[in-house]
């Protein structure tokens, strides 16, 4: 008996001693050779969320391949390695580790959504991973995160623009706003932003209703909105729930003007809803698929050339735009490409135009904040698409 205890003590000792010895040295200079550069990409490819991740990542990959066909970046061909994180934070962290330590990529174009990027924050800083997350929360640029470049417009800014639009352009009397949101991060932030902005204009928010993705219908929400006589509905839900809401509204012959944010502003909404989308107005920080700007034209060509069957066109455009910025930064970093020089090059983008894909991009060494600019789009029901109805704009300055 004593004998067996003795063994346990020994094992414990060995393990404890090894605890004290730790340390890992990592050699730098990743992913860049004379004629190639490796980039990573972590975006969901499987499960229901893949509807968002796939077109986004395909846009990124297609644009990089397009650059390769143009002769590469400073003579280097870009290789993109795309890892799936199944939309789970632990798997996202694992994917980043794999890309950095196994594939030794220069950087990651994106590390995915909010949760995943936050879970990776330490690695991003430790390994100088310059990246553009496809999520828009304040933590990413305020205070400044040295390697995260925020793109687009925060949910706050998008909804401020929407409320501005309601007040200044909708020309409606006695506006009564109803909010339909999802109990997710974007939903909560958006709800608060709407309420704050509406209070400044002294417009009543008469109803706040939750509508989760995967709801079978939205009857109770529509009825509650009708009861409160809401004549403007602002949705803070992803595309499927927004579609469910519009269809339910049609069923009840309820026709308020419905607003939506970037995740729900896609041609898909008109394709899915048809007539039901006729009063839909959305904001987004990427151009519409139907735009005739050079950037969007290129996106359409790329999709055609690569035989992409794209569900959500806005996300494909977004992907093209993100790679566009990355490509430009790598070009500017020149021959001497490294994680640090990539970041510095990204910071030199001033009023940089992406041919109508994104609003003008501005970064500096002190600010990686997004432009906070959006365009408004409305449904073109006969052609089943969205069309732009405004230019890029920011929320109005209120005293």
């Amino acid at each position: 008996m004593r004998h067996h205890r003795y063994w346990m003590v020994k094992l414990a000792l060995v393990v404890t001693l090894s605890l004290l010895t730790a340390g890992w040295v990592f050699a730098d200079a990743r992913g860049v050779t004379k004629d190639a550069v490796k980039l990573g990409l972590v975006l969901v490819k499987t499960g229901p969320v893949a509807a968002l991740g796939l077109p986004n990542g395909q846009g990124m990959v297609d644009y990089m391949n397009y650059l390769n066909e143009q002769g590469g970046i400073n003579g280097r061909k870009v290789e993109v390695i795309w890892e799936d994180d199944q939309f789970e934070a632990p798997k996202s962290v694992a994917a980043v580790k794999k890309l950095i330590h196994r594939d030794k990529v220069l950087s990651l174009i994106t590390t995915g959504g909010t949760q995943q990027t936050i879970a990776n924050l330490e690695q991003i800083n430790e390994f100088k991973i310059t990246n553009i997350p496809n999520a828009l929360v304040r933590e990413f640029f305020d205070p400044l995160q040295p390697y995260i470049f925020a793109m687009g417009a925060t949910y706050e800014a998008q909804y401020q623009c929407i409320v501005d639009y309601i007040v200044h352009e909708l020309k409606m009397k006695d506006v009564r706003i109803g909010v339909v949101y999802e109990k997710k991060e974007y939903g909560k932030i958006s709800l608060d932003a709407i309420k704050e902005r509406a209070a400044k204009y002294k417009i009543p928010v008469v109803a706040e209703l939750v509508l989760p993705t995967g709801s079978v219908d939205a009857s109770s929400q529509v009825m509650a909105l009708q009861k409160e006589n809401a004549n403007v509905v602002i949705t803070c839900t992803l595309l499927p729930a927004t579609i469910t809401f519009l269809k339910s509204g049609q069923k009840y012959n309820y026709w308020p003007t419905v607003f939506g944010f970037n995740w729900a502003t896609d041609d898909m909404i008109v394709k899915a809803c048809d007539e039901a989308a006729k009063n839909y107005i959305g904001v987004n920080f990427v151009g519409a698929w139907s735009d005739e700007t050079p950037g969007i034209k290129l996106a359409r060509e790329l999709a055609k050339k690569n035989n992409r069957e794209i569900g959500l066109t806005s996300l494909y455009i977004n992907g093209v735009g993100v790679s566009w910025l990355f490509g430009e930064a790598m070009k500017r970093a020149g021959k001497d490409l490294s994680p640090e020089s990539l970041k510095t090059a990204m910071e030199t983008l001033k009023n940089y135009e992406t041919g109508g894909v994104f609003p003008p991009v501005n970064y500096s060494s002190t600010s990686h904040a997004p432009g906070e600019m959006v365009k408004f789009f409305k449904a073109d029901v006969p052609n089943k698409r969205l069309i732009s109805i405004s230019d890029w704009r920011k929320p109005k300055e209120l005293k």
């Binding site: 499987t46 939750v210 009857s219 109770s220 012959n253 959500l312």
Partner: protein, 298 residues
Amino acid sequence: MESSLLYFLGLSVSGLAVGSLYALIALGFVLIYKATKIVNFAQGEAIMVAAFICYYLVTLFQISFWIALPLTMLLTGLLGVLSERLVLRPMLGEPVFSVVMVTIGLSIFLRSLAGIFFGHHNYVFPSPFPAEGLRVGGVVLSYTHLWSMLASFVLMLAFFIFFKFTNMGLSMRGTANDQDTVALMGVNVRRVFALTWGLAFLIAAVAGIFLANVMVLNVGLAFVAISAFPAMILGGMESVPGAIIGGLAIGLIENLAGGYLDQMIGGGVKDVTPFVVLFVILMIRPYGLFGQEEIERV
């Protein structure tokens, strides 16, 4: 009519309409439970696959919806028989838990295959029903829901008769009660199982097509089945009328909670209410409202 009463009626009617969809899903669960004493976690995937099959029949092969519907039911039913033969049959006689787990494995497998073959886009199902609702005295009901209510009622009646009066129905009930004994009495247990799975998947097809009509069609459609769990339990896992009543009740409760409580005590109550009801019901009646209590002997 007074507006608050109208509001209540409106909520109730649309709740019952959604409930009829839950009832259809629950019916599939109950059928398999009734014959094999297991909960089929792949029911949601059957629903989703069926919706996709019907979608492709209608859009790709340009078949009219009313022909595609029975065709889909048939194909999905075959998938059910196939699943039973390949996955469930080898598990005959294994503990219930293992068999349930095999259905979880099947659900993961089918969901991924659907992702590979059908893609991850959001599809729009070409609905044969008019989008506008039917108005009866200020209360609105959509045609899709009307048809799904009708379908669940017809199916309930059909199964009631099937279980009560046909030989096969009797064999199924017997199999549920005691596999070994009915096998000794000359019932072909394997055939009973295969048929059960075929029928359950067939019902899933009906549910899937109706769901795809009101929702966006994507791989996530499979998760709707989870919302039907409370309906199945509430009615008691082995009662056909129980499934229908449970489904309708859950739809009703959910909608009323959404219409009244959501505004009062903060959002999201609508979706959690069915599970609260389930929790409470199981505490009071561990065998559901219509389930049979089992007496155990050593």
